[in-house]
Amino acid sequence: MVKAKRKVLAICFTASAMLSAAGAVSANSELLKMQMNANDWVMPNGNYASTRYSELDQINAKNVKDLKVAWTFSTGVLRGHEGGPLVIGDTMYIHSPFPNKVFALDLNDDGRIIWKYEPRQDTSVIPVMCCDTVNRGLAYGDGKIILSQADTTLVALDAKTGKKVWSVKNGDPSKGETSTAAPMVVKDKVFIGISGGEFGVRGSMTAYNLKDGKLAWRAYSMGPDSDTLLDPKKTTHLGKPVGKDSGISTWKGDQWKIGGGATWGWYSYDPDLNLMYYGSGNPSTWNPVQRPGDNRWSMTVFARDVDTGIAKWVYQMTPHDEWDYDGINEMILVDQKINGKMRKALVHFDRNGFGYTMDRASGELLVAEKYDPAVNWATHVDMKTGRPQVVDKYSTQHNGEDFNTTGICPAALGTKDQQPASYSPRTGLFYVPTNHVCMDYEPFQVSYTAGQPYVGATLSMYPAPGGNNLGNFIAWDADKGKIVWSNPEPFSVWSGALSTAGDVVFYGTLEGYLKAVDAKSGKELFKFKTPSGIIGNVNTYMHNGKQYIAVLSGLGGWAGIGMAAGLTDPTAGLGAVGAYASLSNYTQLGGTLTVFELPN
């Protein structure tokens, strides 16, 4: 019964998206149609709703065990390969970490290179990137491929030739502003955020004209209303107007000017509501004692009008962060029954360990539950105020500077980092790659210097108590706020998931396995060892009537650098170091694309 109902809902969702596609009169309704075409993979998370779900069902739970490698491609770049390929017609587009190469590959010729683009970037940007020189992918729109380079140059390339059409500088690396995010194209605009929360930047979301790269609007995460594009009367926080200059009033003095709230995650879009959704990151510095107040609007979900940038609603998940729980993870937009009532929902798995279900039209908070039982820094989220109820023992603010607060779960990596989850309308479940890691956190005084790290805390990370597994791959019910099944993984799952109409869910592991599991039970159906650890996101596409699965491998990212050798167990001194040191026995660095198919 439940299953049948969910199927109907899925169809409704598809139909409403189709309707809005037909009704769109904008310059670029092209993408609204393209995202519905399961043969292509036209944006990093598959569609504007960021469900990472595909209607393709040639590869299914019965035959996925027969998958084999169709072809592979080396990017020639070491370090962490996050994100994944785009597929448009006969062409696949892939990107690399710094130096941010882009390749257009011919799907009619086993991935022969049609064109290659390699920007010239000053290597001085490398030391101002916090957690490896990753890049999470490309955007497509109006015949252009959009790349956001590490040095914050946003460049539009002709999708056919790779020739530069326009470029614009979004930030200043000499101030610690860098870029790792994948842009998003909506209508006639390109949206891009900024990285640098560990360097005291002030985060912002910027819209550029797709046609010529001209700035359309910019909305900062903090500052006066004219900077944040918040309307003191109309913009709401859990139903209440935010009031005047809410991006300043919860900061001490001028600290908002170096307040962080970077916007380096994923962006979603609802064409019916004309709203885009994204989250902001940690307030700067990591030493909470140095920046009293709620530090609005760091750690916040934003719903903004795509045309004007003005926020309809905001919700701050972690006021006055004390643990580096950036709120930047993807916002998954689904139409589901929540507490018995049909909702236009937004589902978000935050770094802070809570899985949030919200009404994406009104910004109402519907569900906030822990998606890893290990989470201990807060007992629960107060559903009226939206505030997490912080446990003193794990509060680095309460324990103060120069005090090593131990046993905080999750670690700064979060119960989940940026690796995006997937939603299958067939099962009504969310498939979430997670970390199962805890930490010690010692904040201390730091001074701000432009372009220099502004961190102010030292951390040790280790597996959550009661086991040695550093990750889980879980199925989540966003209505009940409960884990349906959970597969332990020896290492953090740092790869974006994919679910399909074949009732299979795919994800990668840090040892380098591409895995396929049954969408209903989580039972492992297939695994294959790729050349390096997988921190990329799995996608699927159809070419010449055949379904393929594609993923970038290439160990790195925060998991690869900070953890591969750096996890420390404060008691034994060996446990977790042993666990993570063993990662080097499984895999080495190196970027490779692997494409899978069923045998003929």
Partner: protein
């Protein structure tokens, strides 16, 4: 919160003062309370513990340096492992590299940290930590430490 923390450190400081003035450690054997760092002997290590300055070096290293040089000085594909470099690098060369930066090794760039007071102010502590790592005295994990002594007296 800040006030209570502050008074706590004053108390700690006065305890430390009491100890050294009252001659509690009157025995002839020198210990961490008598330790004065120098380029030749930048850290103090006894019974599995390091002096507070070396511990502070661990903290500061992991705030400002480890992004490129890897956790615990173990290096990464962007920058050399300092626990190896400091086997041959003098204190003077170390300070020079941090202050002026370096360029030219493969694609690598070491930026200047001259403007970064979080590094410059504690450069001797960071050196002490890395030297202790290079000498194999401490492992990759958070080192155990003796209480803050000399620094508190100096601050007061």
């Amino acid at each position: 919160m800040q006030h209570s923390k502050f008074s706590k450190s004053i108390i700690l400081a006065s305890i430390a003062l009491t100890y050294s003035i009252s001659g509690y450690s009157a025995a002839s054997k020198a210990d961490y309370r008598d330790f004065v760092p120098s380029p030749e002997q930048p850290y103090y290590f006894q019974d599995g513990k390091v002096d507070f300055g070396t511990y502070n070096g661990f903290r500061r290293y992991h705030a400002d340096c480890h992004v490129c040089h890897g956790p615990a000085g173990m290096g990464s594909s962007y920058a050399p492992a300092l626990l190896e470099s400091l086997k041959v690098m003098s204190y003077g060369d170390f300070v020079n590299a941090v202050v002026t930066g370096r360029e030219g090794m493969d694609n690598m760039i070491m930026p200047s940290f001259a403007q970064n007071v979080d590094v410059i102010k504690y450069i001797a502590d960071i050196y002490a930590y890395l030297k202790a790592r290079a000498d194999g005295v401490i492992g990759p994990t958070r080192p155990d430490k003796f209480p803050k002594v000399k620094k508190l007296i100096a601050d007061n």
